[in-house]
Symmetry: C2
Subunit: 409 residues, 2 copies
Amino acid sequence: MRAPKTFRLHIGIFGRRNAGKSSILNALTQQDVSIVSEIAGTTTDPVEKPMELLPLGPVLFIDTAGIDDEGVLGEKRIQKTLQIFDRTDLGVIVSNFNDWGEFEHQLIEEFKNREIPFIVVFNKSDIHGENIDIESQLDSVKIRYALTSATKSTGISGLRQLLLKTAPADFINRPTILADLVGPGEAAVLVVPIDKEAPKGRLILPQVQSIRDLLDNDSFCTVVKERELREALSLFNKPPKLVVTDSQAFLKVAADTPAQIPMTSFSILFARFQGDLNEMVKGAMSIDKLKTGDKVLIAEACSHHPIGEDIGTVKIPRWLTQYVGGKLQIDSIRGHDFPKNISDYKLIIHCGACMWNRREMLSRIIKAKQAGVPLTNYGLTIAYSLGIFERALQPFPAALNIYKEVYKD
Amino acid sequence: MRAPKTFRLHIGIFGRRNAGKSSILNALTQQDVSIVSEIAGTTTDPVEKPMELLPLGPVLFIDTAGIDDEGVLGEKRIQKTLQIFDRTDLGVIVSNFNDWGEFEHQLIEEFKNREIPFIVVFNKSDIHGENIDIESQLDSVKIRYALTSATKSTGISGLRQLLLKTAPADFINRPTILADLVGPGEAAVLVVPIDKEAPKGRLILPQVQSIRDLLDNDSFCTVVKERELREALSLFNKPPKLVVTDSQAFLKVAADTPAQIPMTSFSILFARFQGDLNEMVKGAMSIDKLKTGDKVLIAEACSHHPIGEDIGTVKIPRWLTQYVGGKLQIDSIRGHDFPKNISDYKLIIHCGACMWNRREMLSRIIKAKQAGVPLTNYGLTIAYSLGIFERALQPFPAALNIYKEVYKD
């Protein structure tokens, strides 16, 4: 399912004809497994390129390559350029720094006047001379910039981080946790086991957020323990649209939910809501490649996390060991510090990061991707090791396809 | 419905034959509108008196009046007295102070050894001499005591506060918010309106606590906005045992809930859970006695309360004014400070106090009662002024009877 154009983050790419706009775009594109289709335009019309840009998701690049510059924004081209500014959510100025000048300053001025967030990309490989003064010049005016070498494909990961950092929060944060899977006037069933770790008199945040997400979108839900699920389902004269369970009750809930009712877990919902479900599905599937002695990093977002304490430190290590059939080298981290060097790990398993904003989780996904380390989360790991991955992914066709592509026989 | 003996707080009253045990009991009894029935015993057996003691609720007084003392716990009576200690949750030593001595110290020693909370009551009117040294003597050993004059009925309110303060938390805190009205394996519907005051992505505490209370007791619930209630109810092939709404949606929910389904509000549940529903029902009914110019105190538990801000300061004052048909003098307070002098007020209207422990709310109920000022809460005020008091009280027969007694025609 392609995202409608209206939901895509519109990234306007500006710069002189020889600045390297196309090579930057190509470098981003070649790294992503995604379909890039060009929408034809006349030579002076900007080219629009819809794509799935990791980690931002669906974006629309507006490539102003067709617009000539000749140093300054002349009267004739002002109208056309203004139209692009009108629909730009995030601006990118590409420069080779050698002819950085009046034209670039006019672009910056325009972004500032319109309060459009923007970044500058210097294509290092095109820069002549060594001791250029980029850093001091742009740092002093607090302009965010990235240094890339499109031809050598270096700096692209830093550019992704900068795009992530600068993109408006509305585009980073997903609009819904699960209400899009349920629909107005329809019901979900949320299965909330109460074990001795559950804080007295409360529900944990992902559960509360899910209930609220449904109410905000004119849906409703039945909240029930796993033991009473069968009884609760028998009360419906029309099946609920979705059953969501805490991962810890996965097997019982899978058994008690009729096959025609879609079923998933809070963790899988949060992989999508707070991270990138497709990337994390790939991550979970890499469990199969783990071998005795491999290094695995388990990352908990909260530095003090009374709930689920033993999921990350006890249960998941135990399951993984059983699954792999040998001892793994498991490191645990907590909080906002992420190791600089992660390339030794064969897998990173993250908590749902329900207390973080999505930007932080996506930033880790880029870092893992750059280091070539698959990343997944607790719930996906549990679902995979319990053998109910396929059923739990059914509400998410794109993610399910990633799985089916590998196990298509 | 009488509380079973097992759920009553067992208060053992100890003291010498002439210490005033009976007059203390009578003073407490005469102030409470409650049935006191004596369970007959032999002269040397303790008399058990079940009663509704404001504000503790159902208690069982074990009156040791039949046990002779003669100064010390002689061998012959030790066995009988130990039996009483065995079932005492809260001990009361009554003394006239003149013969305070070895006997009382033995009682105190026994309470301490058994870790039974206890208080001492000095019946002032029986104390001979003015400059007695009670305070310094008992303060030094940190023993809680009350000074009463049972014959003049003074100090009884202070005694109640001391009993409240000393009673074990298990007896102060009610075991359930609403699960007792629903039952295991059965469903409630919780109606949660989402207005602009609702904090983003969250539910307010009483809603979360209610969901959790149901799960803890093997019940379950459907959570729905008032707009989708009708749709949600139509989805079930068996009516829920109870519909609970936020007071703000009372009229719509009353209209959309079939008459045979019991319906109440979170506020009414919390009047019972955090306060004393019967007292607060009386308080709400006193709205009818308000006249133009009367003073009303509106009390909010939280000192900073972003939600419901305008309920206490705007909506309730407006409703009351409309109901009374004239201007009232309305004072507002917030937080833990309660005015010393409240006897000028004709009514106190409290928030649900969901962030407090019940002890604090009960303490205010005693203070209001002592000052002769009726006390109610927001939700009961709203229900009363909207004319749906009777329906909202149906799940609570004792409270409903208080209302029907007055409006029996």
